[in-house]
């Protein structure tokens, strides 16, 4: 007959056992992201022959073509960092020792880690498998990024088994982004644009889809720092700075496209008049009569409008350039 004390002892020791078991279970899991294989069921053995096992069924006639992965960076067995140089297919799909077994009649084949929205594997786990290796400064803030918080999968954008992943193609990347970003697609069809629709510029030249600290997932710390990567001539500092230029290029410019050249939010003089109303000409109500070349007001609306004289809108370094005309 057990005494109450013994009961307590049993309870406490069972409790201790559970605590230790939980600890034992959690500890490796908490490190799993960086440890090969630990994301997967440890009780499932690996296949006997690796990729050769998989390719017995998943050959060129398989409904989801996979062979091209051997052409990609992932398939480079000479690079010790790649999945194919490690557990081959099972680096990402998990141990396939059970999956390779022929199922009994009436039974389903043991599952293996599959990717995509239809998969029974959680999106977190799917992404963790990729993030086991893809940890660097460009993916450091994936957690909490707008794409991650919307439950997006790596494979929503990336085709791992394709010979050329479209999202990594300079000419096809935008089409992948347009699958969701339809509004931006329409903006790039305007007449004054960054050359994305021509395949001469990629979304990822300005945006980091894997997460960044800026609102629009920009590659640099700020909007302006992103723009200066290609437009360094506007960086200054200038003797006569134009304050909004230093603050945010987006005060005057659209980033994707506009019908007012060059990517302006509004045409001059009205864009300028939204912030300048002093003196005897910035304050005027220019009406259509001004569009007559003979009008006294014509120079303020025709040709380059305000920039007929004040052309240094991004700043001037001329000692006489206080009015941005020099």
């Amino acid at each position: 007959m057990l005494t109450i004390t013994k009961d307590k002892s049993r309870i406490s020791s069972i409790g201790m056992a559970i605590v230790v078991m939980v600890f034992v279970d959690i500890l490796p899991l908490s490190n799993a992201v960086a440890e090969d294989g630990e994301l997967f069921d440890k009780n499932t053995p690996y296949s006997k022959k690796g990729a050769d096992t998989c390719l017995k069924c998943h050959d060129e006639d398989y409904k989801y073509p996979i062979l091209e992965i051997f052409f990609t960076k992932h398939g480079n067995r000479n690079d010790p960092r790649t999945p194919m140089a490690q557990f081959q297919c099972e680096s990402c799909h998990g141990p396939g020792g059970e999956h390779e077994k022929e199922p009994l009649v009436g039974k389903k084949r043991a599952p293996i880690v599959a990717f995509g929205k239809e998969s029974s594997v959680s999106s977190d786990t799917q992404n963790k498998i990729c993030l086991q290796c893809h940890t660097d400064d460009k993916r450091m803030v994936w957690h909490g990024s707008s794409h991650a918080s919307q439950g997006m999968l790596c494979v929503d954008c990336h085709y791992i088994h394709k010979r050329h992943d479209p999202v990594l193609s300079k000419t096809k990347q935008a089409d992948v982004c347009y699958n969701c970003h339809k509004k931006q697609q329409a903006e790039f069809e305007r007449t004054s644009v960054h050359p994305v629709r021509y395949g001469k510029m990629q979304c990822t030249q300005c945006h980091n889809p894997h997460g960044s600290y800026t609102d629009s997932l920009l590659v640099a710390n700020t909007k302006n720092a992103t723009c200066y990567r290609c437009h360094a001539e506007k960086r200054g500092p200038f003797l006569w700075a134009h304050a909004p230029v230093s603050e945010d290029c987006g005060i005057c410019h659209e980033f994707h496209g506009s019908n007012t050249k060059p990517l302006l939010k509004q045409r001059a003089p009205w864009l300028c008049q939204q912030c300048h109303g002093a003196g005897a000409h910035a304050n005027r109500a220019y009406n259509p009569d001004a569009a007559d070349g003979g009008s006294f007001n014509a120079p303020f609306v025709l040709a380059k409008s305000c920039l007929n004289c004040h052309f240094q809108v991004h700043g001037s370094n001329h000692p006489s350039g206080a009015k941005l005309t020099r």
Partner: protein, 695 residues
């Protein structure tokens, strides 16, 4: 005692069994994969592969607009050249070349040496063509001169030699970019990256260059000046990662060099002519060092941070106040160069935690500073190389600091409904501007659902309210700004955003996407300046694939943009300008495999049109329009397993009308000598055939 301790021992033994049982396979990766030969893995027996494509194409007409970014601006023949070359062996080398026969060519080489070092080389050209209809009497390089016998006059009407002196001049730039980068992976944990990129931009640009000491007497000429700029960028990066954390150290360097310090031109409005000089963009330098890292505190909580410190500097020697020796500034320049220095500081921190399986919270703090340490000085400037000014101007070294705090929570209900709620507080400090500080509060709510396997929807609403410290008209600006004007980047503002999107697949072969997006900025407290802007966007897109060989896509989108602004010419009367713009885009296309592994054809059609109307009070300016039809047809026919015949056809019809340009001849305005450009309008066909060979 034993009875008491046996449970502990049993527990520990059971834990040991449990622990050892969870480590089912203790073998190392090398042991497990020792017999994994990968004998069936493809490509091993063919280390070199590739495809080269060559052919000829022809453009039916000249148009800078059609050639903008493409290089197909001139009527005539073009060579078609593309290549892909791949080596797979101990090393990996990928070479891709595109549009080799065009000014928009690109060559990329990506290699991996022995699995430890990655090398990349990139070369690309981008032509940016701005006009092919400009005509100018000027000629020269950075000093644009008028022709012999030029007759100057105070108005363009008196320039009797203008018509005979006009020459065609193209306005364009060509950007060339060369980049090389290397990444060395010392171990699974430690890697180094080095990258260098040189961008050059050469060509011509049009500048509005003025003489005259006030707006009434000012005379301006649009003059085409040469462009020759180089930007060198370099980056050195070290990445280190452990199980729970990773970190990096990045040094960035960017140096801008302008071949031209200044531009000069003759004054077409004087006889004999005088000379003016303007500054070109000065050489400048940016350096920045960043430290960044992330740490997985527990399995479900990750903290990350990045701190950057940098400097923008510029110290190019000043030009003189004027190049006209007859003008004598009262004082010398206060210094010989700006010695401008702006220290930048950026700090970002975020912590993201999954408190429960279905509840995620995030806290974020961002700070961005530009601390301008440039000295101030008084410049007794010469107005437009015309007369000595009676005014002295002092430069404003603008500084900025932005601090943002954001808290966001996301809750997932039944794995089908995601609710997100976020709050953001933004403080923006400025110096030497009308508002010292603005504060903005933003609330944001999102709902997304995948209620059915074929139905997804998302709703987003956001409201923000910005207010600032006292709006103070700057006393150092002359003439003083209207005290009622509110610059919209620092004016009080209420902003509302809303968007809804639905993706629906009524049948397996059809996907429909609908999007509506609304944005409104309300500047109610601005009596003068921008008062309101609004954008409404609708889009409907369909993807249809009735048979596996045929994929069809269709789409329409419409955007309405409106803004209202107020001005004050004579107090207290206020004038109102209204801008209404509409943009419509439609696209249709298909890809069809006519004969599997033999014949593919594809079509893409895009229609994009815009119309804009500006009214000032009740007077309406003529409509500004753009309209473009682009049809691209493509077909490839496989002649054999290795060779393919390709055909491409692009038809584009474009028309643009802009009253600010059209009909404005070089001498239309008395006080501005323009380039007489006209808006582009063309119908062009581009046909090309090529042969490609794969090996």
């Amino acid at each position: 005692m034993w009875h008491r301790n046996k449970y502990v021992v049993i527990s520990l033994i059971s834990v040991w069994f449990y622990a050892t049982d969870t480590m089912a396979d203790d073998r190392t990766m090398e042991e497990i994969t020792a017999n994994w030969k990968c004998e069936w893995c493809p490509y091993d027996d063919q280390p070199v592969q590739g495809e080269v494509e060559g052919g000829l194409g022809a453009v039916s007409n000249d148009s800078y607009k059609f050639g903008d970014y493409t290089g197909l601006d001139q009527k005539g023949a073009y060579a078609i050249g593309d290549a892909e070359l791949y080596y797979r062996g101990k090393h990996r080398v990928d070479l891709e070349a595109e549009d080799l026969g065009l000014d928009s060519r690109r060559i990329d080489i990506d290699s991996n040496i022995a699995g430890r070092t990655e090398l990349q080389l990139e070369y690309s050209q981008i032509p940016k063509l701005n006009s092919d209809s400009a005509r100018s009497p000027y000629a020269g390089d950075a000093y644009q001169r008028l022709p012999q016998g030029w007759v100057g006059d105070t108005t363009t009407a008196g320039m009797t030699e203008l018509g005979a002196s006009l020459n065609d001049v193209d306005i364009y730039t060509k950007r060339r970019s060369f980049a090389v980068s290397a990444a060395f992976h010392q171990s699974a944990r430690l890697s180094y990256d080095v990258a260098f990129q040189r961008d050059t931009k050469k060509g011509h640009k049009a500048l509005g260059l003025a003489f005259g000491d006030n707006f009434a007497t000012a005379r301006s000429a649009i003059v085409v000046m040469p462009v020759d700029m180089t930007t060198d960028q370099a980056q050195v990066k070290i990445n280190y990662k452990r199980k729970r954390w990773q970190g990096g150290l990045i040094y960035q360097f960017s140096k801008f060099d302008n071949e031209y310090d200044a531009y000069q031109w003759d004054n077409a409005f004087s006889q004999p002519d005088t000379t003016g000089q303007v500054a070109a963009e000065p050489d400048n330098l940016m350096q920045q060092i960043s430290l960044l890292g992330s740490y997985r505190i527990v399995q479900s909580t990750v903290a990350s941070a990045k701190v950057s410190a940098g400097q923008l500097s510029q110290d190019q020697s000043y030009l003189p106040y004027t190049v006209n020796s007859n003008l004598t500034p009262a004082n010398d320049l206060p210094r010989t160069s700006l010695d401008g220095k702006v220290n930048t500081f950026d700090f970002d921190f975020s912590i993201n935690s999954r408190l429960m399986d279905n509840l995620n919270v995030e806290f974020r703090y961002d700070q961005h500073e530009q601390d301008n340490n440039t000295d101030r000085a008084a410049y007794e400037y010469v107005r437009n190389d015309t007369t000595n000014s009676t005014f002295t101007a002092v430069n404003f070294p603008y500084s900025f600091r932005q601090r943002q705090i954001e808290l966001r929570g996301r809750y997932l209900l039944l794995q089908k409904h995601a609710f997100s709620l976020g709050f953001e507080h933004d403080i923006f400090d400025r110096t030497y501007q009308e508002v010292d500080q603005t504060k903005e509060n933003t609330a944001n709510a999102q709902y997304s659902s995948n209620l059915l396997s074929n139905l997804n929807m998302a709703l987003v609403v956001e409201h923000s309210d910005r207010s600032g410290s006292e709006y103070q008209t700057l006393t150092e600006i002359s003439p003083p700004e209207n005290p009622l004007l509110r610059k919209y980047n620092m004016a009080d503002r209420k902003q509302d955003l809303a968007s809804a999107s639905v993706s629906y697949g009524p049948i397996k072969q059809l996907d429909l996407d609908f999007l509506v997006h609304y944005a409104n900025d309300d500047y109610d407290n601005s009596q003068v300046g921008l008062k309101e802007s609004e954008e409404m966007h609708y889009g409907l897109h369909a993807h249809l694939s009735l048979i596996a060989a045929l994929r069809i896509n269709l789409g329409v989108a419409r955007t309405d943009i409106q803004s209202t602004q107020a001005g004050m010419q004579t107090a207290p009367a206020v004038w109102i300008a209204q801008n209404d713009e509409q943009v419509n885009v439609a696209n249709a296309g298909f890809d069809y495999t006519v004969i599997k592994n033999k014949l593919n054809i594809g079509l893409d059609y895009v229609y994009a049109e815009s119309s804009g109307e500006i009214s000032v009070d009740s007077a309406v300016f003529p409509e500004i329009t753009t309209e473009r039809h682009t049809i691209k047809l493509q077909g490839d026919y496989r002649l054999s397993q290795r060779s393919t015949l390709n055909a491409y056809y692009t038809y584009e019809k474009y028309d643009e009308s802009d009253w600010a340009v059209d009909g404005v001849a070089p001498n239309s305005m008395g006080s501005v000598l323009t380039l007489g450009e006209v808006s582009p309008s063309y119908t062009i066909g581009f046909f090309a055939m090529s042969y490609s060979y794969a090996f």
